[in-house]
Amino acid sequence: MLDLSPAEWTAILLSLRVAIIATLVATPFGIALAWLLARRDFWGKSVLDALVHLPLVLPPVVTGYLLLLTFGRRGLVGGFLADTLGIVFAFRWTGAALACGLMSFPLLVRPMRLSIEAIDRRLEQAAETLGATPWKVFFTVTLPLALPGVLAGMVLGFAKAIGEFGATITFVSNIPGETQTISSAIYSLIQTPDGDAAAGRLVIVSIVLALGALIAAEWFARRATARLHGN
């Protein structure tokens, strides 16, 4: 039904790759941060919380520009990583993944945090009385009970990452085959004469992906509730 051209496929597959890598790399950090925000009280917690949410409210072009300054070839971190580990972010798909990961991070962390907060801490106490160390409590009680929330966060983060535009185009530009995701491809197409049909096809792909992710996230959230009630 949708007759996609090779260039459109390239953009879709690149978007998928960028979003999958961004989500997988962000997930362990997201879980750790969600646990920290849900379970611990420490100095500077509200600052950390605000920092995590910053990409949600900051103009994406600002986030992209800050990424360019930090992770660009001559940036403080970017220069160091390029010289020592050979990892380059600027104008590469890896940079797109970094931008998408950062922009989607608040959405990824939130359901994880909520699901950890919803777990009855008395269950964790019960595990301790049965001989479980804090790490074992985390992996045998906390994480399994939070799993639907963790998956919901991953799905939501993925959906956000696949649609990210502002920070990505600012940081890594719009290079077909390297950094041109669905969003930047649509942006290019609607600026070219006769690009409407191709843009329309990519728009449909975007809507399908976003809707699918939202439905999946909702389903996981419902599973989480059922799990907490032991059914």
Binding site: L130, T133, G230
Partner: protein, 220 residues
């Protein structure tokens, strides 16, 4: 078996308790708000006393002067809560096996069989906690605590959440537990009748103080 000599300030409430017991079942008796649960949580290591010592089976698990506070997971205690607290994501069999796995104990099929028969929970094995009645849940919680092979079993109003009929259903199991399982217990209750049936010694708490200590006779 159990020696407690502690002080703890909890907001406006201050708790001071001192007793030593070799009894098989120490009944901790008092009205709600007397400090019974706080005291049991300290024996379990979930709360840390401000001052004093707790000795379980000869091992000092708390000593504020020496700076000793053995964490809960190394105390080898079993704790049965009023609200069972079974793990909702595990079925009954997995709940029962949890303590053995966490303590890396070798399977002991004979003990497993004995506990399951004692509590009559064999038919529940494959079920999730959400599909159990209150009484069944409490029996599984008892089994789960016993199968972690504790040296002391703490029971905090294990019948408190059950109606009268259910209580009568569980009580015989507790009596059998006392007579057959050979694990010393601390049994918390505000119900004198319950303690008369189960306890061998009584610690009476009132507003954070031990008011009497002795045989079951002190309940009258």
């Amino acid at each position: 078996m159990l020696r407690v000599d502690i002080e703890k300030q909890l907001g406006e409430f201050s708790l001071t308790a001192s007793f030593a017991s070799e009894g098989r079942v120490i009944g901790l008796f008092g009205a709600s708000g007397a400090g019974k649960t706080s005291l049991v949580n300290m024996i379990a290591g979930l709360l840390r006393p401000d001052r004093g010592t707790i000795v379980i089976d000869g091992e000092t698990v708390d000593d504020s002067v020496a700076g000793i506070h053995v964490p809960t997971w190394r105390r080898r205690i079993g704790y049965v809560f009023q609200d069972a607290r079974l793990f909702p994501h595990l079925n009954v069999a997995q709940n029962l096996d949890y303590g053995r796995r966490m303590n890396r104990l070798a399977p002991d099929p004979a003990q497993h069989k004995r506990v399951i028969e004692l509590l009559d929970i064999g038919a529940l094995q494959g079920r999730r906690p959400g599909k159990l009645s209150g009484g069944e849940r409490q029996r599984v919680a008892l089994g789960r605590a016993l199968l972690s092979r504790p040296r002391l079993l703490l029971l905090d109003e294990p019948l408190g959440a059950l109606d009268e009929g259910r209580k009568m259903e569980i009580l015989p199991y507790l009596v059998r537990l006392r007579d057959e399982a050979n694990v010393p217990m601390v049994y918390v209750s505000h119900d004198a009748a319950e303690l008369r049936q189960l306890a061998t010694q009584i610690v009476m708490l009132k507003q954070g103080r031990v008011t009497s200590f002795g045989g079951v006779k002190v309940l009258t």
